[in-house]
């Protein structure tokens, strides 16, 4: 409803106030006059009139080219379009990235500013100010309230997908609720705009989330994939994710999210680390690397090569990345090196690499796993 009012009124704040007014009117009128046949249409219509009232009373300035349509708003197709418009406007690339995330969670997912601020380790006033500035920019620079056309869609969709994935990853270890919110948003997007990459992202999130309960010990230590209790993975979610990957691939417009989802599906459908089809995973990383070259993907591919061809082959590839001066300050580079050295029985070098990883790691579950590895390798413990 908010999305529709924003389109009709052309102003975020005005639409929010109008909707509040409409709800207040409903609380007063519905008990005595009965609930209207179409409550949603009633609220939108009431919101529109309340907004006109506000404008007439001059409590706010009339936005530039405001035209209030006379016809009553229609329900189904418009409402769907409006939610999609809202997502694309909140994720407009000319808005501050924090504001993109904040506005999407607030306007599309109905989270409060306080909830969003807590999730992204900022304060509510700071976030509120960013959102106020973003809304002012939407109005003043006239950022359109529109789903982009074919030509711009890939680039604009990429920003939307990035925002959703950011929300998902923010909840990776500790916030199942945020991950669920990201999945809900992903589902909505796929329902409104079934582009292969949107489907790929939804699949990727479902497949990662399916392993959530087995990812950390009760004490909060990361459990690596090969040690996870696969019987506790969410089978229904894995099935759905894998089916979505196939559906996305059928469109023959492959992209990075689809490929990452396909890799996650190969992991999720294997009964153990040993029986995982590592050749398939390496092949998918090869395609991903061609499509979206980045040292982080190279690192992941090196780890997969280590599993397929033996640790010394993976180690050689990681060392090549480090020699180029890339990913030297990334904890996972050193953790992956350490892991391969450990498998090769080169304990002193493994200890050195784990120690370097420990200096760089941020997330507590990963820190604990590295500490356990160091103890297992007999490294002297710091007090």
């Amino acid at each position: 409803m908010l999305a529709t009012l924003i389109r009709l009124l052309g102003d975020f704040d005005l639409a929010e106030e109008a909707l509040q007014d409409a709800f207040a009117a409903a609380v007063e009128q519905w008990p005595t006059e009965g609930t209207p046949a179409n409550p949603r249409a009633w609220l939108i219509s009431a919101g529109r009139f309340k907004a006109i009232d506000r404008l007439r009373r001059g409590r706010r300035e009339v936005p530039g080219e405001l035209e209030l349509p006379v016809e009553p708003p229609e329900d189904p197709p418009d409402v769907i379009d409006d939610r999609l418009r809202l997502i694309f406007t909140c994720c407009h690339p000319s808005l501050n990235p924090d504001a993109q995330v904040g506005m999407t969670l607030r306007e599309v997912c109905d989270l409060t500013t306080e909830q969003v601020a807590a999730a992204f380790l900022t304060t509510a006033p700071t976030l509120a100010q960013r959102i106020v500035r973003a809304k002012a920019k939407i109005r003043d620079a006239k950022i359109p309230y529109e789903v982009p056309g074919r030509a711009d869609l890939p680039e604009r969709l990429a920003t939307v997908l990035h925002v959703i994935y950011l929300v998902f990853n923010q909840g990776y270890f500790t916030r199942a609720d945020l991950a669920a919110e990201a999945i809900r948003l992903g589902r909505l997007l796929v329902e409104l705009l079934p582009e292969p990459e949107a489907t790929g992202l939804l699949a990727l999130m479902l497949l990662h989330d399916a392993r959530r309960v087995t990812r950390t010990t009760p004490a909060g230590e990361l459990i690596p994939l090969e040690e996870q209790d696969r019987s506790r993975w969410n089978g229904a979610q894995i099935k759905e994710g894998a089916e979505l990957v196939e559906k996305a691939f059928a469109a023959r417009r492959v992209g990075p999210y689809q490929l990452q989802a396909a890799i996650a599906a190969v992991h999720a459908e294997a009964s153990s680390s040993d029986s995982t089809d590592w050749s398939e995973i390496v092949g998918l990383y090869d395609v991903l690397l061609r499509l979206d070259p980045s040292p982080v993907i190279e690192l992941n591919r090196a780890a997969a090569i280590g599993m397929r061809d033996g640790p010394e082959h993976g180690l050689a590839l990681i060392d090549m990345i480090l020699v180029r001066g890339e990913l030297t300050e990334y904890h996972l580079t050193h953790a992956a090196r350490a892991d391969l050295l450990r498998r090769m029985g080169r304990a002193p070098e493994a200890i050195a690499a784990y120690t370097r990883a420990l200096e760089l790691v941020v997330e507590e579950p990963e820190r604990r796993l590295i500490n356990r590895r160091l103890i297992e390798l007999g490294a002297p413990q710091k007090s």
Partner: protein, 118 residues
Amino acid sequence: MRYLCLIYEDEKAWMNASQAEMEKGMAEYNAFTEGIKKNGNYIGGEALQPTGTATSVRVRNGKVSTTDGPYVETKEQLGGYYLISAKDLDEAVKVAARIPSARNGTVEVRPIQEFSQP
């Protein structure tokens, strides 16, 4: 809506350009300007002489002070502008992306502040 497209680029690149490069650059700009005149986006636009010709003027406590050059040294300098008309920011960005200097410099797109008539 009116938008000002401010064109920032390394002016040394222009100064060091060969005659042929210069002519090619001018031809690209002429073609772009003709294009936006034809489709109605164009309101105005000019190229500026290099920052070496610039004078900064300040009045403090009623006293005028003039100094040489722009206020701060930057890697890219303001080299010209277009004033355009577009239906929204997305259209303005599309126009700005076609400005030849967008490929090696930066184009800043700013909506014009419209003041209501008294």
